[in-house]
């Protein structure tokens, strides 16, 4: 089943813009359904159901966490330290993050996860430095200060794509929107009537644009 990514689904609420989503009912993805199940259970104060949904959501995102840790720690953490950072992030996600998350969309959840992974890597670096006596600069002071006041709830994940996507060139935006609807590359090719190379190139450029826009958005 193909469906609109919940991030986009939320963005589209009231936007009356269905440029490339025509023909795709806005059904929430399995991750968004789990998040909804968690939010409902938490509202009902059904702790067991909330914990079960949350744990499943964390587990489904194991690869996202592990890969973000790898990206965050390239050249700075050993393989063992990376494993430690992954575990540190997961423990926080399974405990404190579950209690403090106040978002309602997967976009916010992913954004908060990204922040949490960053701080897990910083913590791991600090501990490794303390143990080994490493003295090289691991994080800048500003980052270290932020680390002490971490609050992933302040993330504005849900708003980013809403703001950023309209700024992309048309082809790039179309490819990303179809990616977010979980269409395969072949389906995107078919939908847009373009070759695989065009999809790959548009996607790659769109992601570069989004990375730059994110810096601007978060500045």
């Amino acid at each position: 089943m193909r469906h609109a990514y919940p991030f986009r689904r939320q963005i589209r609420k009231g936007a009356a813009d269905s440029r490339v989503c025509e023909g795709h009912p806005p059904v929430a993805g399995h991750d968004a359904l789990l998040l909804q199940r968690f939010l409902l259970a938490r509202r009902r104060r059904d702790e067991a159901a909330a914990r079960a949904a949350w744990s499943e959501l964390v587990e489904l995102n194991f690869d996202r966490v592990a890969t973000l840790v790898r990206l965050e720690s390239r050249g700075r953490l050993s393989a063992e330290e990376r494993d430690d950072a992954v575990q540190r992030a997961l423990v926080t996600m399974l405990t404190r993050f579950m209690d403090t998350f106040r978002g309602t969309s997967m976009g916010e959840w992913v954004s908060a996860t990204r922040t949490l992974v960053h701080f897990a890597c910083v913590d791991t670096q600090r501990r490794a430095a303390a143990v080994s006596g490493r003295t090289e600069e691991l994080t800048d002071d500003a980052e270290a200060e932020v680390a002490d006041e971490r609050d992933p709830l302040l993330e504005r994940g849900a708003a980013f794509l809403d703001w950023a996507l309209p700024q992309l060139a048309e082809r790039r935006r179309e490819v990303i929107e179809l990616d977010l609807q979980e269409l395969t590359t072949e389906e995107i090719q078919e939908r847009l009537g373009v070759s695989r190379d065009v999809v790959y190139a548009a996607r790659s450029r769109a992601l570069k644009d989004l990375a730059k826009l994110r810096e601007e958005f978060e500045a």
Binding site: Y5, P6, F7, G29, H30, D31, R44, R45, D46, E47, A48, A49, R51, S55, L57, E59, L60, N61, F62, D63, R64, A66, T67, L68, R70, L71, R74, D83, V86, Q87, L90, V91, M93, L94, T95, M106, G107, V110, S111, R114, L161, I176, D179, L180, E182, T184, T185, R196, D197, V199, Y200, A201, R203, S204, R205, L207, K208, L210, A211, R214
Partner: protein, 208 residues
């Protein structure tokens, strides 16, 4: 089209298919000078990527990941003990001690609500050994507090095997006399009142 576009595209295709692409393997496929570019593309993707629907084998592999299992164990161990968590859970459920006592009384047909309140207060103060709570009570508390899973503390370690008795030394005689005195006093004392349902719930142990 550059190699980076191609390999990034393949990474994303593998991600969307739930194939759990290995970042390092993809990074190794591009020249060193282009790895940062590929890493930036993957990072940008992961910031917006839908969570893939993994095939069953991949899902099982994720569950079996040592880091995932260790994190689950660590998260479980971080849960506070019952005396600490009970007031928090109760307040989160919007209930006072008397409310909880009333629900327990209703469920178990307990006549003395004040004693039930007193037991609950002792439990929250940590004056009551949580290991003596009955499973029935723990289940009822879990349900009353909104389905929260309350775990009974681990049972105590089994008693060490008894040791052989040897002939007592002379100086042990006093101890024996004291022990016999104590046993005699206990035998003469009136028996404590039998446990009622409320006592069994709070003091009767897991099977009480």
């Amino acid at each position: 089209m550059s190699t980076v576009d191609d390999i990034l595209g393949e990474f994303i295709d593998a991600w969307k298919a739930g194939e759990r692409p290995d970042l390092d393997a993809f990074l190794e496929r591009v020249p060193a000078a282009e790895r940062d570019g590929l890493a930036a593309g993957v990072a940008a993707w992961l910031h917006i990527a839908p969570t893939p629907e993994h095939p069953p084998a991949a899902r099982a592999a994720i569950s079996a990941e040592p880091a995932m299992q260790a994190a689950r164990r660590a998260a479980e161990a971080l849960r506070p003990p019952l005396p600490e968590s009970l007031p928090v859970l109760r307040e989160r459920a919007g209930l006072g001690v008397r409310d909880v006592a009333a629900r327990l009384a209703e469920r178990f047909g307990l006549a003395d609500r004040d004693r039930t309140v007193a037991y609950l207060e002792r439990l929250e103060r940590g004056d009551l050994d949580a290991g003596r709570l009955s499973r029935r009570l723990v289940d009822a508390l879990s349900e009353t507090l909104g389905g929260v899973r309350i775990a009974l503390p681990s049972p105590p370690a089994p008693a060490a095997p008894s040791q052989a008795f040897f002939r007592a030394d002379d100086e042990a005689e006093d101890w024996i006399v004291q022990d016999i005195d104590a046993l005699s006093r206990a035998a003469l004392a009136s028996a404590p009142a039998p446990m009622d349902e409320l006592d069994r719930l709070f003091l009767g142990g897991p099977d009480g």
